[in-house]
Symmetry: C2
Subunit: 668 residues, 2 copies
């Protein structure tokens, strides 16, 4: 058999393989086909043999040089950060363009109220309908936040559809449409971005495996944990809070081995995101996303700490109301027959109707003017974090002062910003709860963050009003900064809703100032304590329960006393058990009541130490034996106990053993 | 038997008990005696029966009310934070008074060089001698940093002496003396403070157990982890980095259940510490410990990121040199006969001689003037973080400008601060390494932090000099801030020395500004990568090794590839093993070569799956049987395999199971 024959045989083999591959195309997933492509790359029927082999050699050399510096996975972590930041930046760019188009259209129609109303409502309606139908038709898994799914995947459940390229594309485009309608539907970016980041991470993990030339795929665990951190970091340019978010969302599943990779990838992501902003906008330097101008020398009076703690309590209480409404609407949408029918068949129609309702309510010429709905979400947060006081000077001051104009006129249509803030809070609560039912890719963190900022601002403005009227402080002292309260409220409320503490750090990183670090942390802790007190599920838990995701409820988190509870109180034997020294009567009774083929055997019924199990047939033999002979034998003489054992062979890898233990530990 | 008789009997019983207690006084430890006191409290021979019972009742009611709000341990966490912060504040106060006394004495003797020299040297010499002899005589465990010991305790090793009240007192007083000599010996506060905090935590844990009326003491684990976070938080008023420090020092032993308690206690500690500073110094508001005035609007040019990364590399390289010197001196002190003899008998003398050497080198009228040794450690760090440039304007500038005076004249005795900084770095390196051998309570983090700041400042001043000479930037641009480089250098160097990332966050919290968050994090990551590259031990690891502490080296940290290594490569069977289907020859061979009473049995020698063990006697029976009879029986027919099994009974608590798994997981 000469070489040409060999090549022919190879060709036939290849053709056979590809034919088979085509036949079973529907059965195998995209990933497997890709792996097949890599395998068939080795085949000699492809063009440019020489240049391909030369390129391959070069790549191999580069790989060697790179691999000699640090492990290949570190390049993947860096690439993950850079890619996700790029995605985030491009998304921000497109959303800004779309928002500006809407603004332009609206301002061009000035004077024609009806046309303005139509442009105000139909633009988000069409965007959300597109978002819903596009993402649903491509991948039904792309709707919603994605964080509950990511959490489930991180806990070890394999959900390949949630990491597919189709899902990535559907989610990305859908999210751009949702965010472009942000002024009316009031939804955010973080959750889906964490999901997008995990998809990128999943792909990079496979690439990393190929680059290292390994056959077996390494578990995606580490990469997914890192990706969760990168998602937050490249969304806000906040690396440290990204890592803390990853730690918290992962809860007991976080392995501290992933700590350094998390920091590294998050720093890469945050740096890329900020550098891209600098280069695109012609900024001179890297700046925080929501740069504030709080006074460094005098951030707050020491006594204000008490007000911050009260604000934390208020935010905790509000979060309980919000979470209750959210759980109720999730339940209602599922149980209501009409709604569930519409949601199962006409998702785009449902989105369109709901968004039309929300948009008409926020129309700036009607109720919208009392909700500052002219502002985009970014402007809303910037305005709420403003360090200038909105409350104008009182008229009865001894010196005649010009009443200061409100720096954000959108918040003061009635002169008093407190009224607008109160109306905003009341309306947005149920509008936000309604918006959560929209079947499109959307994040729920940013709206909650802004809602909390509004609560804080209300408290801050109230305190300013009181202090200006001379009740608390003399007028020549340092002015109270309501922006600080807004920031603390944002962190506390979003922390309470999600049952996490990382928003406290996020608030610092978003504003680039850490003057308020201690009060913000205190408010977040107090709000969290209140929100967790009733052992109610968090926002993500509620979503997991509603979506029936394989949700591992951390019992130890809910009930810390469990640690000293004996297992007998948690688990009870489901069927009858045999004592080791059981007589024929007990055996007969057990055989009558149980239908299992193996009967568990315990030491004594008092101690209940499980020794193993006995076969049903052996027990029957024992009974027969006892009936026949006069000298009654004991159970142990006839039946052997098959012991309960955990077998560990030398081929068990360290990882398998560790996972086995972790699985057991996680189940607790 | 009437009531008086009963009381008499009780009295006799009590006397008998107390007699026995006195007899065995030498045997039982302080804690046990305390428990005995609590038990005998119930006895009726003590005075004020009624008022005591009334007080007891009231306390019980208070306990019920407090317990109904949150678990009793939360009060303990809060108390831990407040107490540690109080200790930290009182220590700072006393140290400041002592430092001021030294400064006053030195300035009063102005003009008398010899007297000045004596006052400069003898003051720290006497303080360090007192510190050494006092702490060594009270408790020999109080010397050094304490972090390696805390780490060992946290990994589950019980070391009761390290948590005793005597040790607390010895360490506290010794540390005050050490810090008061800070200008010359250049040692810090963090490490011992973490240790002090764990001692307070240990006591509060016992108190918590008593308050809850539980008999069994709960494990101290959680309290110690929380205490580690509180130690850092109340030392610097930096809660978040305290928690991260705790996470990192604990490494794989950190349980995420302790995350919220850590944050809560650290926030309490940081708040108390800062409030105490406000009240004592008459400040108007809470401020960061090393408040900086970096420009918020223009912190740095985007291109400077590259310089920050180079600075990270430089710090990583320097840390390797420092760690090498540190390991060498630890080895040298142990192996050198003269030194080890002095250190075992005349510790105070050694301290005095070494401190005299260090003090005479730092004498401000000799070499000390080129090391800015007039400044205390706090002033050193403040001066290094100054945002003004020290380099004066070049003479050849077109406009004739007055050369700006150096804002910190201590750093510019020669006109050029770079020379002073270089001299400072060279001298302090070996002085610091020498100071690490002093047998007194002292922290090594703060000196390393300041050393890193000096490296960063040198790079920053160098860059300023280059930019002022028009090579890189035009003069009318924004000025470069050398303070930012100092901060990044401090975080990167201390992070590299301790192999942690939390200094990056600490740098932000210490200065109260997060403008430089991204470059600092990048520099710290790069420095850490370099420092960890050779798998050399960190600063704490080296101390653990040198002190021969039960040190669990995290294999997975040193060798991450271990995860996919089969156990057979790590563990090999120590003796001969039997195959299940072994014949008489193999059995004879095994019996000849092995002396164990139980022989391990595997499935086949190829798979090596351990099935259990066989008794030696059984095997001998098998051999006899085979020699006697003609029909050779198989091994399994005669000998029964005792299987390897893990038995879990219903009385196993969830905690026991979890610990069992964690122990196994930790051993990997």
């Amino acid at each position: 058999m000469d070489s040409s024959q060999l090549i022919n045989t190879a060709k036939v083999n290849v053709r056979y393989q590809t034919d088979r591959a085509l036949q079973s195309q529907k059965d195998i997933s995209t990933e497997e086909r890709e792996r097949l492509v890599i395998i068939t790359n080795e085949q000699p029927w492809k063009p440019w043999q020489r240049s391909r082999s030369w390129a391959k050699e070069c790549l191999g050399k580069v790989r060697c040089v790179m691999g000699s510096l640090v492990g290949m996975e570190w390049y993947c972590f860096a690439a993950l950060g850079v890619l996700t930041a790029l995605l985030s930046f491009l998304m921000d760019l497109s959303v800004e363009k779309l928002l500006r188009a809407h603004q332009w259209l609206y301002s061009q129609l000035d004077g024609h109220s009806l046309l303005q109303f139509l442009s105000w409502t139909l633009f988000p309606v069409s965007l959300c309908a597109v978002s819903t139908s596009f993402s649903q038709s491509l991948s039904p898994f792309s709707a919603g936040s994605g964080i509950p799914e990511v959490r489930t995947m991180l806990s070890g459940v394999e959900m390949p559809h949630y990491l597919s390229l189709t899902n990535l594309f559907a989610k990305y485009v859908g999210l751009i449409c949702t965010l472009a309608a942000g002024r009316t539907v009031f939804l955010g970016k973080v959750g889906p971005f964490v999901h997008l980041s995990t998809m990128v991470g999943g792909y990079l993990n496979r690439l990393c495996t190929v680059l290292r030339g390994e056959k077996e795929e390494k578990t995606e665990g580490a990469m997914l944990v890192v990706a969760a951190a990168v998602g937050v970091a490249s969304c806000f340019g906040a690396p440290i809070s990204g890592v803390l978010f990853s730690v918290e969302v992962m809860s007991s599943h976080f392995s501290l081995r992933d700590y350094c990779p998390c920091f590294f990838a998050a720093a890469c992501g945050a740096l890329t995101f900020r550098m891209l902003s600098v280069w695109s906008s012609g900024q001179e330097t890297l700046q925080a996303l929501f740069q504030t101008n709080f006074s460094d020398d005098f951030p707050f009076y020491p006594l204000e700490i008490l007000v911050f703690i009260i604000l934390g309590m208020l935010c905790g209480a509000c979060s309980c109301v919000y979470l209750f409404c959210h759980r109720w609407i999730l339940q209602f949408v599922k149980t209501n027959k009409i709604l569930s029918k519409i949601l199962s068949t006409e998702k785009a129609l449902y989105s369109a109707i709901l968004v039309f309702l929300l948009a008409s309510l926020t129309f700036p010429l009607s109720a919208g003017q009392y909700m500052a709905s002219n502002l985009t979400m970014k402007q809303l947060l910037t305005s709420l974090l403003d360090n200038r006081q909105w409350t104008s000077q009182p008229q009865n001051a001894s010196v005649v002062m010009q009443p200061q104009p409100c720096p954000w006129s959108e918040w003061c249509p009635l002169g008093n910003p407190c009224l607008t803030l109160g109306f905003f809070l009341v309306m947005k609560l149920w509008m936000l709860v309604l918006a959560c039912t929209l079947p499109l890719p959307a994040g729920y963190f940013m709206p909650v963050f802004i809602y909390g900022a509004a609560i804080g601002r209300l408290v801050g403005e109230g305190l300013t009003y009181v202090s200006l009227n001379g009740i608390y402080l003399e007028q020549d002292g340092n002015p109270i900064n309501p922006g600080g309260y807004a920031l603390a409220g944002a962190a506390a409320f979003s922390g309470a809703v999600t049952h996490t503490l990382s928003p406290a750090l996020l608030a610092l990183e978003l504003t680039g100032q850490s003057t308020h670090a201690t009060p913000i942390l205190l408010a977040t802790l107090v709000a969290n304590a209140l929100a967790r007190s009733g052992q109610r599920p968090s926002f993500y838990d509620a979503l997991s329960i509603s979506k029936k995701l394989p949700h591992v409820p951390s019992l130890l988190k809910v009930c810390p006393k469990l640690f000293s509870v004996a297992i007998r109180k948690v688990l009870s034997p489901t069927g009858p058990v045999l004592e080791r020294a059981a007589g024929p009567e007990e055996v007969q009774h057990v055989l009558n009541t149980s239908t299992q083929t193996q009967i568990p055997v315990v030491d004594t019924l008092g101690t209940n130490i499980l020794l193993g199990s006995m076969n049903r047939s052996d027990l029957q033999t024992f009974l027969c034996h006892n009936q026949n002979t006069r000298f009654k034998k004991q159970l142990r003489d006839i039946c052997s106990i098959q012991p309960v054992s955990v077998q560990i062979s030398p081929d068990t890898t360290v990882q398998e053993m560790k996972r086995m233990m972790e699985d057991l530990a996680n189940d607790l």
